[in-house]
Amino acid sequence: MNPVEIKNRKEFTITCPIPVRDYPHVLLAHGGGGKLMHQLIEKMFKAAFESSELHKGRDAAVLQLGQGKTAFTSDSYVVRPLFFPGGDIGTLAVNGTVNDLAMAGARPKYISVSFILEEGLAMEALWRVVRSIRRAALEAEVEIVTGDTKVVDRGKGDGMYINTAGIGEITHAQDIAPQNIQTGDAILLNGDLARHGMAVMAVREGLEFESAIESDCAPLADLVGALLSAGVEIHCLRDLTRGGLASALNEIASGAQREISIDEALIPVREDVASACELLGLDPLYVANEGRFIAIVPRRDQEKALTIMRKHPLGQGACLIGTVGNRGSALVTLKSRIGAGRILDMLSGEQLPRIC
């Protein structure tokens, strides 16, 4: 690149946008799905990588390639332990990327799988994960077309990290993004919350509950495809991964600059999951899911959408949990179980188990 081109580019500040005074080091909370992570994305990444698509804040970018539109996304998986009830890092790596594509309204087609392996990892463990990836890809109807393998020194990785990227085809004309939600829209959820996060936590922390909680990890593209092909108008979709329902709603409210109201009594949480959350002082609304999403649709399409969702194996517990309000400010409010109202904020970092 010649120097003239560099000069003509828009000025980019060379000072770090995250004040070093506040955070001289990266904290775990910078990846926790809460406010600190969003600060990093908004102030550092989005500012540095100027892209109008990046600014839309979708789970996957929607790109014009030739005649058609294509969705593109990437995600890294660093879950510990590698195996947990209901799945493993392999199923997660496929479904996570498949779901990010699905949330852009795309039909996932091709994915890449890159492994970062730690020296000394049991070959049997790797083979088990590879078989899981194969199974998950078959189930989600995606083809693994490229990949990469790196090995790092013993002690420099948690056994295995996986990165997947994926592309999907968009065959409808709808624009699905937070900015498109409207006053009065219905917020639909496809089932009970918090199973994935509690399943992983129980294994990681060696907590023994009476029954094993299994992750809800599942590919959502087929269910989203069913909604789209039935002609349901969809304003926004979001899967409820890190940071859970509360963070997803806050991201949407902030992207759309609109108020969102939900009713706690309408949100399903399985009894054993709720008990585990209570024991640890965690709020299920902030716990991660890997097979749950919200669809924000116009009120007139609410019943149609719910009927379609409930017919699908991954949407049997689908329900209405709230609506988009008419206030033009980014705010999520919750009607508590006893009927009083409060704000549902995004957390700073990860939820921490309480002392007592």
């Binding site: 775990l28 406010k35 709720a274 980014a330 006893i338 009927g339 409060r342 704000i343 700073s348 309480r354």
Partner: protein
Amino acid sequence: MKYLSEYRDPQLARRLAREIRRITTKPHVLMEVCGGQTHAIVKFGIDELLPQTIELVHGPGCPVCVTPLELIDKAVEIASKENVIFCSFGDMLRVPGSHKDLFSVKAQGGDIRIVYSPLDALRLAGENPRKEIVFFAVGFETTAPANAMAVYQAKQRDVPNFSILVSHVLVPPAMEAILSSPHNRVQGFLAAGHVCTVMGYTEYAPIARKYNVPIVVTGFEPLDILQGIYMCVKQLEEGRAQVENQYARAVRRKGNEHAQEIIKKVFCIVHRKWRGVGEIPQSGLGLREEYREFDAEKRFGVTLCTAEESPECISGLILQGIKKPPECSAFGRTCTPERPLGATMVSSEGACAAYYRYRNHQVQQELPAHESR
């Protein structure tokens, strides 16, 4: 859910709220002692169901909030040492010390682990014989028995590489400190249910008598709290000042005597500084002489430490029920959960954090910057 959803029943909650309104003829100021109760009140919006004449002020019962700044600094110092595995309950990690919090120490290479029980830390000591394992023993009477048990077992098994950094505090002396303050506004208490599960409630009778205040041992679910308020208001309206037990499904009059025994065996009563409040005589627990070998402060020689609080922060007044979070000029402006000035903004049980997390739209609406969004 059994033992949970029935205590969150909206119809029963409204009926209790109606009963409270029916019996209330004059203004009353009640304090819920425990941070867990504050959290539930704000999370469920229990105060919104009450008549305006009943004011709830939030007490000092948040272990994270009252742990003195110096002790956080000591924890940071010990946790930064080579060869130390520092174990703590999760929510202590985000509390800011004078310069940094434990999360930052972790980011810089400190071996800091979240544990769910001090006995997990003791197990780590066995598994890592070449490392020093330090457990951050904070909390009220609720966490004291398990912490005492860990030290007791360490001595029995002769575990040389285990110690605790102790800052235990006791509820009754704090209640007395609040009641004897010239600024006191509290007319009745909801005592902390979990603390009483361990300690029982015999020690509250002299306080109720001396200061003529009703004290109702109260649980943590919305219906528990509403019933506790009802019982407290009823006493105030009838001119009584007795100790009553709303949380009878968990609390016995004498508490858990085995737990008390192990506390007494390992700990003795000491003067203790409370963050934001100052020193309260005879208000804490420290290791007895025969267990002093397990005192991390002594082992690591970090006994001399003074630390300055932010002058803007009014958490002391909040912990004593004299002021409420929105009355602080820093609240939601220069003090937020991402950049807390004081501990009441850090812990989810802290009154400021609870108000910020569940009520911050009230502040946002007052701020011109947010109105323009």
